[in-house]
Structures are given as structure tokens and as C-alpha cells.
């Protein structure tokens, strides 16, 4: 084999602390190396041309590039060598930037370490073999998990693009948080008026199958061919027959059920449709509050339902859907602010969350759009908003900024003045984060035109005083402690990952950060991809986002899916495990350890043997280390290839 070695300066990133010319000179002495040089930017167009030319000129049949992390440019250089006619697996990369130049300052030591890494790569390359991928069919259907505004956007874009869409939503209606909002910043247009029609589109689109009140039970398979088991949770109402007339709700005697849609402001009936514009508009029984299901008495809804759709014996149901791609759009939930004992920890009824306030402002909400104190139903005069509750607070394990609460607080201050012209609003803030288009102007308007009094400082304590609340905070700009008599306190509670986000991530085999938000493929360049092929992200499940950004991501994820499905077949990754049938003794250990179920048992002339299903194997390599015979070998990472690297390193 004739190997060419290219040692990259990466501007001064590598050259600053590594003598690349010396590394190239040393490489010329390694077995098999026929050519070695150092280059300024190997990934640039001239850099790549240099490789192509060298391959031709020196009849190279293998290439090593010593530069940055393979996560950055392995694909780039594989394509380069392919252009020059080599198999893409006759290429190796040595990471001398992240693993050398960025982490050490000693030029001599760095140069030695870089030389070692190049020696390892060249020595592995001597054992590399050309690998070819196979083509396989794909199922051009897409699963979207979560029917918030991000999921809705992704679903509609995919459906419009001609794909069949399966949309799975955990609650009984799609719409997510946006359906609960009154108006939206920075234009103050009615949330339901802009979202409602899109929800209807979802219901009516011939390409969209909607499973509401459903969750993902199990996901198997791989990009292009996923099998998804969906759990349709029991609603005790036959949705095929339910017309959404709502007669059951008017007659149900159990009227103290928790009103989840209204964030606990007010109560609802055990059987209910969460709001008039719900999609699907179907009733569901809350088993915890249903007298029939709890005590066996009642059953009134069954008697009054004109369509006869009440079924107290209904059970959870499972359906399996075959799809080729998955978009996670599970959004966020609000942080449990009751850990703040100093804000009453939930003991004071007139301390409410921002989302509860949205329900109160909404004309279709439990108070009919009237701002009323939960304690006594009176109109408040002084309304105090506290920002950054459960955000930017290390002491409660939430150091990040939620990003949109500054904006919605300004919106709520404006709406308060609209609803109650006599009212006075106060906003305790630490910094105002209003970086979107027309956003800062919007927060200024709250102050300049709506006379919201902004106070820079956190609040230390809220406690009842007479029938109002005393809010004690600081005004750090004045340098004093301040007190405000409040009739109502609204907490701008921060966002956290949706309940159950981590469990779903494990089913989807995608990673999540320590707060449960899903990890994108690359923080800048792959914002809606994940590191699992065929799984994409949209909206707040990746990190808190406002509506415009969530919608943009929904569309971005849809375009990724449409791009993926623009081909009829996908190429499989040949870096999978292969069982050498001669060595295999049929012990079955690999089958037990494979986390993807990619190894099946076959009969070979009456003997039991293992065989890898190429399309299912993810190349994790667990079987290779399990097999007592060394029969299972991961292609491109065989024992021989790895040992040659070890030997290259340990020769002295």
C-alpha cells in the first residue's frame, strides 16, 4: 500500500503549538508512507485539490489527514478521496487539534504526540479494506411526536410535501401551550385565531393521521424503516362515534375535576372536552373523578349521550405504525415553582403562574377574560410580575434563561392595562432579554405607553398583609429594598423539558442534556438533526423557544425529512458487525448483548450460527467484545485494525 499523509496547520490552530512540518517529515519514515506534506487548510478547496493531485501523481492507495476532529471533516475528506477514485474507507483521520494543539502548550511534546497519532492512523490504514454500502428501501411516512405549534407546523409542511404523516399527541387535543395563550407578542394578535385554523388543517388534511391522547410505547428499526408502537390511552368514549356535542359535560354531576387545560384555574367536569376549538373535538372521562369508574354509581353521560359512545370498559389500545423518519416536538413544561417557600410555595391563592394568567386573560377561559383574584374574585388594582422564577437560578438547579418570559411578561403587563385601565403593573426583572425583531420596542412600549413600572431586582419574599400581598424586593438601581402592595402576583415561571422527555429520548435513542432538553446534532450547523439518523427535532423540546422560532424549526425539520425522502433508496453504513461463520460456535452470547436485536440465529448445515442483520446493526461493537471466539468483527474497527494502532503506539 502507498499512503499519503497530509498534516494540517488549521491556520494557527494547530501550527501554533505543533511543528507540522516535523510531523510530516517523521511520517515519511513510517511503513507504507510514500508521500507526506503539511498544508495550511487541508479542508479548503486548494487543500482538497492537493490530496486529489497527490493521489494521482504518486499512485497513492490510502490517505491520512492529521487535522481536526472527525466529527467535523471525516465526511469531507472521504468524499475527496472518492473523487480521486479511492474507496472512502481507505482514509484515516488523526485528530491533532482537539486532542493535541488545543489542550497542550508544549510544542515539542505536542509534536511528538501528533507524530504518534499519525503513526497509529497510518498503521491502521495498512489493514483497512474497501467497504461498500448497500441500498435499501425506505418507507416514506413520517411520525411527529407532540402536537404543539412546532409539531403542527412540521406535520402540515410534510403533508403538503406529499408525505403521509402520523401525529401523536399526549393530551386529548393538539395546540400545546400556544392554544392556552390569550394574545401573542410582539404583535398582540389572538393566539387561538392564528393557531385555530392550522389545527383544523391538521384535522382535515388527508395525509395526516392523528392519534390524540396517545403516547409512544416502543420504537425499533432504523432510518427509513422504523416500527413504532403507539399506545392509545383509554378515554372511555368511543371517538369514532363521539361528535363533540358536549351534552355529557352539561349533565355530568362530578364537577370538581382538575381542569388541566385551564391550568387549575377553576374546575371542570369528569367528562370533558378541554376547550371549544379542541382538535380532535372529542370527550374524555377523567377516571380519577368519574363516579361510575370510582364507585360504580352514576353513568349519566352514557344515558344522555345521543351517539351512545360512552364505554366504561374501554382499555388502552396499541397500534403499530411503520415510518421512515421521526420528528420529536414534545415542547416544554413549566418549572414547579412551589419550591420557592419565600414566594409562599403555593399557599397563597393570589400568587399564580404566567400560564394561569394567560387562561384568565383569555375570553374563552374560565373567567371569561376577566382578571379576577382567585381568592375572592375581586378585580386587582396592583398587579406585580416577577421574572426569572425558576430560571437563571442555580440554587434550584435551573441556571439557564428561558428566553421568552421577559417578552410574555411585557405582553401581560400591556394586556393588564387593556383589561383594567385603572390598574398599575410592576415588573421585577434582572435583565430584559428581548432580542427578536421588534421585541425591544415591545418591552419599551410596555413601559412608555402602558406605564408598567419596571424594577430591577429580585424579590425575596411575598406574604399576606390584610387582604393583599406584600412583595418585598430590591431596586438595585436605586440601591434599596422596596415593597409593593400587590393584589395579584404573577410569576414568570421558567420552562423545563416536558414531563417524560428523558424516557422518550431513550426510546428514540437520542441524547438529552442534564435538564432533559434534546441534543441537536451540532449546536450551529445541525440545529434540527440528532445524532441518530432519521430522527429530527422541532421546537422547545430542544431548549425553550418562542413561537416564531418553534415554527421555524418545525419547517426546518420538515424540510430535512422531505430531503431524506427525496431519494427512493438509502445507502446503508457498511461499518457494521460481520460474523465469521467459520469461527462462530453458536454460543448465542452476541444475540443476548446486542441492544438493537440485530443478530439472529441461523442454521448452517445443521449447526447453529449467528448472523448480523446489516440494516439493523448500529455498529456499536458490543458483540465484538462479547464474542469469545473473535468471530464477530466490526468492519473498519476489526481487532487487527485496532491492534495495529496499539502496536504502532507501543513499539518503544
Amino acid at each position: 500500500m502507498k499512503i499519503g499523509v497530509f498534516v494540517c496547520h488549521c491556520g494557527s490552530n494547530i501550527e501554533g503549538t505543533v511543528d507540522t512540518a516535523a510531523v510530516a517529515a517523521a511520517a515519511r519514515e513510517f511503513p507504507g508512507v510514500a508521500f507526506a506534506t503539511d498544508t495550511m487548510y487541508t479542508c479548503s478547496e486548494p487543500g482538497q485539490e492537493e490530496i486529489v493531485n497527490a493521489i494521482k501523481e504518486h499512485q497513492l492507495d490510502g490517505v491520512v489527514v492529521a487535522s481536526c476532529t472527525p466529527r467535523m471533516h471525516e465526511q469531507t475528506f472521504r468524499r475527496t478521496v472518492e473523487r480521486a477514485g479511492l474507496n472512502r474507507y481507505l482514509f484515516e483521520m488523526a485528530n491533532i487539534r482537539e486532542h493535541v494543539s488545543w489542550i497542550g502548550k508544549d510544542r515539542e511534546a505536542n509534536t511528538n504526540k501528533a507524530t504518534d497519532l499519525v503513526r497509529m492512523a497510518a498503521s491502521k490504514l495498512l489493514h483497512n479494506r474497501p467497504l461498500l454500502s448497500k441500498q435499501f428501501d425506505i418507507n416514506k411516512r413520517v411520525l411527529i411526536i407532540g402536537g404543539g405549534v412546532a409539531g403542527i407546523q412540521a406535520a402540515l409542511d410534510c403533508a403538503e410535501g406529499g408525505l403521509e404523516v402520523v401525529l401523536v399527541e399526549k393530551t386529548t387535543t393538539i395546540g400545546g401551550k400556544m392554544a392556552k395563550l390569550d394574545k401573542t407578542f410582539p404583535t398582540v394578535d389572538c393566539s387561538c385565531c392564528i393557531l385555530g385554523p392550522r389545527m383544523v388543517d391538521v384535522a382535515q388534511h388527508p395525509n395526516i393521521t392523528l392519534y390524540a391522547y396517545s403516547e409512544i410505547e416502543e420504537v425499533s428499526g432504523y432510518v427509513g424503516n422504523f416500527d413504532v408502537k403507539v399506545k392509545k390511552k383509554a378515554t372511555y368514549v368511543d371517538w369514532d362515534k363521539c361528535t363533540g356535542c358536549g351534552i355529557c359535560m352539561t349533565k355530568c354531576p362530578s364537577k370538581k375535576a382538575t381542569d388541566y387545560f385551564n391550568e387549575g384555574i377553576g374546575k371542570t367536569t369528569a367528562i370533558n372536552i378541554p376547550f371549544p376549538q379542541a382538535i380532535p373535538k372529542k370527550a374524555k372521562i377523567d377516571a380519577d373523578f368519574c363516579m361510575k369508574l370510582q364507585k360504580g354509581k352514576c353513568g349519566i353521560c352514557a344515558k344522555v349521550c345521543p351517539s351512545g359512545c360512552i364505554d366504561f370498559t374501554q382499555q388502552d389500545e396499541f397500534v403499530t405504525e411503520k415510518v421512515g423518519a421521526i420528528v420529536a416536538a414534545t415542547g416544554f413544561d413549566l418549572f414547579d415553582w412551589t419550591v420557592y417557600g419565600e414566594y409562599g410555595g403555593g399557599r397563597y391563592p393570589d400568587v399564580i403562574t404566567s400560564l394561569q394568567y394567560e387562561r384568565m386573560l383569555s375570553a374563552s377561559g374560565p373567567t371569561g377574560g376577566h382578571i379576577k383574584r382567585p381568592s375572592d374574585g375581586k378585580e386587582p388594582k396592583n398587579v406585580v410580575f416577577i421574572q426569572c422564577v425558576g430560571s437563571r437560578d442555580k440554587s434550584v438547579g435551573r441556571p439557564y434563561c428561558t428566553g421568552f418570559c421577559c417578552m410574555y411578561t411585557a405582553k401581560q403587563a400591556i394586556l393588564t392595562k387593556d383589561h383594567l385601565p385603572e390598574s398599575q403593573t410592576y415588573v421585577f426583572y434582572m435583565d430584559i432579554r428581548a432580542t427578536g425583531k421588534n421585541y425591544d420596542e415591545f418591552t419599551r412600549r410596555a413601559m412608555e405607553e402602558y406605564n408598567a413600572k419596571y424594577i430591577r431586582g429580585r424579590v425575596s419574599m411575598i406574604y399576606p398583609k390584610g387582604d393583599s400581598l406584600l412583595v418585598r424586593g430590591a431596586d438595585t438601581l436605586m440601591g434599596t429594598q422596596v415593597e409593593v402592595d400587590a393584589d395579584l402576583v404573577v410569576l414568570a415561571v421558567g420552562a423545563e423539558a416536558a414531563a417524560g422527555a428523558a424516557g422518550l429520548a431513550e426510546k428514540l435513542r437520542i441524547s438529552y442534556d442534564s435538564y432533559g432538553f434534546y441534543m441537536e446534532g451540532h449546536p450551529k450547523l445541525k440545529p434540527v438533526e440528532t445524532n441518530t439518523a432519521g430522527v429530527y427535532l422541532a421546537g422547545s423540546c430542544q431548549g425553550p423557544k418562542d413561537i416564531p422560532s418553534s415554527v421555524a424549526q418545525g419547517s426546518a425539520a420538515a424540510s430535512k425529512v422531505l430531503g431524506l425522502f427525496s431519494k427512493d433508496k438509502l445507502a446503508s453504513d457498511p461499518q457494521v458487525s460481520v460474523v465469521d461463520i467459520k469461527r462462530c460456535i453458536g454460543c448465542g452470547k452476541c444475540m443476548k448483548t446486542c441492544p438493537f436485536g440485530a443478530i439472529k440465529e441461523i442454521d448452517f448445515r445443521g449447526m447453529k450460527k449467528a448472523e448480523v442483520i446489516e440494516t439493523v446493526c448500529q455498529g456499536c461493537g458490543i458483540c465484538t467484545s462479547t464474542c469469545p471466539q473473535g468471530a464477530a468483527q466490526l468492519q473498519h474497527f476489526t481487532d487487527n485494525q485496532i491492534l495495529s494502532e496499539v502496536n504502532a503506539l507501543c513499539q518503544f
Binding site: 417557600g341 410555595g345 406574604y463 398583609k465 390584610g466
Partner: protein, 301 residues
């Protein structure tokens, strides 16, 4: 089958003087509950606030001497009625987990500092080791009709990492005991607000303001009396109540009990052994309203 509880008892300086009734009533109720308190021999002052304002090593050494005394008794757990003492003991223990700090402290002592002793407050052992249910079972004369607010003071529960007891913003230990005794407990939003602490002498005006606010709020919430667990709080609210009234133009006449005194009354102990007569704001009318006075007299011989 209940194992009897035994603790080394560290009364703290104020127990010998201004809070003598706290000491008396703590001992009396523990005796009534079969909790054995053995006095720490030759205990000394923990240094209180003044010591830690001067130096942390000095402050910890003053506490550490007492912890050594406890260890020499062969007991593993020490209890004190006073939250300020407890805070000093616990802070010293916490800081002495750091080896180099412990060495610095040991240099000031006759023998190396001990860090094995467990320290708790009387309130803490009653709710955590003895148990509310058992307390309830001991009640002979329920405090029905008594409406109290429970005031914990600022350092009983803070900082949570060191004190490791109850909720730091909304403690319930005394509230629960009072409810078990049959009293009505009003919600008291200033449970952990500072009363003015040891500024009574150098900055009396501060105490007038802060303690005055506590009394105003307790009254507003409908309390007939305040119940406390801290000698300094009790002194500021009780002994200085008249000064507070004249400074703020208020007219409070609010008895300030130690929680141990009210427990004793409910257990049927005599007023004398609970030091009820040591209180400055006369609690007569409040106690008489409970209709238990006759009984207690019978018992006191």
C-alpha cells in the same frame, strides 16, 4: 419496646439567666416524656454571635470545647434548647470537616477537636426522635381555645445545609406540636424573619422595629399569644414588649411562651416547674381562659 432516649444536655448561657424558664420547662417536659437529659459537665459559652464576628477559628474552638466535653461523657448526641448555640455548634462541626481548619481549631484547645457528636435542638428531638403522635398521646389538658402563632426565628432552619431541619422558609415543627396539644395555630408569614437578635443593647431601635413588626403581624393574624423556641427572640418580644409599645405607639399585650411551657401545661405539669411566672408579659388571662389553672395548682406541692 420503646428505647429510652438519652442525650447530653447543653443548656447555654441564657438558660442560667434570662431564659431560665426555657431551661426549666425543657427539663420538665423531657422528664415527663422519659427523655433523659444529662448535663454536659462544665460546659462553657459557645461564643454566640460576638465570637464569629471576630474570627471563625476562635468561634469554632469555643464550640469545639463543648463538643469535646460531650464526647468525654461517652454520649453520641447532644441537645440544646437554644438555636443560637445550636447554630454555633453545627457551624463549627461543618467547618471542622475541613482538616486544615480542624487543625487550626485544635491548636487553641487542650485536646484535639471531636467531630463525631450529633447535635440537635430540643425541638428537633421532640419531633424527629420522639414523635408528634406520642406527644399527642401524652396530652392531659388540651389547649383548646388557645390561638397561637409559632415563631421560629432566623437561624433555627438556616442555612439549610448546616441546620438540616424542617423547611427553611416555612417550618412546621412547632405548628404541629401546638396542633397536637389542641391549640389553634394561625398561619404566620414571618416565621423566619429576624427579631433584631442581639442588638437589644447596642441598637435598641432596630429591635423595636423588627420585633414590633412581628407582634403587629401576629395580632393581625388573630393570635392570642406567640410561641417561640429561641431565648433571644423570646427576650426581645417579651421583656421588651413594653419598650416596643412605647417606641411604636402600639398597645400589645401578647404573652410570649416557650413552646416547652405550653407542652408542659398540656401535659398537666405545674406552672411553677414550667417557670410561667418568669414571663414578663403576664399570661394569666390567656391561661385562665383555658380553664386549667385550678388543676395545675392542685398538682403543685
Amino acid at each position: 419496646m420503646s428505647v429510652s432516649l438519652t442525650y447530653a444536655y447543653y443548656p447555654g448561657c441564657s438558660s442560667t439567666g434570662t431564659s431560665i424558664e426555657y431551661d426549666m420547662s425543657s427539663r420538665a417536659i423531657c422528664a415527663a416524656l422519659d427523655i433523659t437529659l444529662t448535663d454536659v459537665p462544665n460546659w462553657s459559652c459557645c461564643g454566640s454571635t460576638p465570637a464569629h464576628t471576630v474570627d471563625h477559628t476562635l468561634s469554632s474552638a469555643l464550640s469545639a470545647r463543648n463538643l469535646c466535653q460531650v464526647a468525654s461523657m461517652g454520649l453520641t448526641a447532644a441537645v440544646t434548647p437554644c438555636p443560637s448555640c445550636l447554630s454555633n455548634l453545627k457551624t463549627a462541626q461543618h467547618r471542622m470537616k475541613n482538616d486544615s481548619f480542624r487543625e487550626k481549631v485544635s491548636k487553641l484547645l487542650d485536646k484535639p477537636a471531636d467531630i463525631t457528636v450529633e447535635t440537635k435542638s430540643v425541638l428537633q428531638i421532640l419531633v424527629e426522635d420522639y414523635g408528634i403522635e406520642k406527644i399527642k398521646a401524652k396530652v392531659k389538658k388540651p389547649l383548646t381555645g388557645l390561638t397561637v402563632a409559632a415563631y421560629y426565628g432566623c437561624i433555627m432552619n438556616r442555612p439549610a445545609e448546616i441546620m438540616n431541619f424542617d423547611d427553611r422558609e416555612h417550618p412546621m415543627a412547632m405548628d404541629n406540636i401546638m396542633t397536637a396539644l389542641g391549640a389553634t395555630v394561625v398561619p404566620f408569614p414571618l416565621k423566619v424573619e429576624c427579631c433584631g437578635a442581639s442588638f437589644g443593647i447596642p441598637r435598641k431601635d432596630v429591635v423595636m422595629r423588627l420585633s414590633g413588626k412581628l407582634l403587629d403581624t401576629a395580632k393581625e393574624m388573630g393570635a392570642m399569644a406567640l410561641v417561640t423556641a429561641c431565648p433571644l427572640c423570646q427576650m426581645n418580644l417579651d421583656m421588651r414588649q413594653e419598650q416596643i409599645n412605647s417606641a411604636n405607639g402600639s398597645k400589645h399585650h401578647m404573652p410570649i411562651f416557650y413552646f416547652t411551657q405550653l407542652m408542659g401545661l398540656a401535659f398537666g405539669l405545674t406552672e411553677k416547674e414550667l417557670g410561667i411566672d418568669k414571663l414578663c408579659v403576664n399570661p394569666r388571662t390567656v391561661i385562665d381562659a383555658l380553664g386549667m389553672e385550678g388543676n395545675s395548682k392542685e398538682k403543685s406541692q
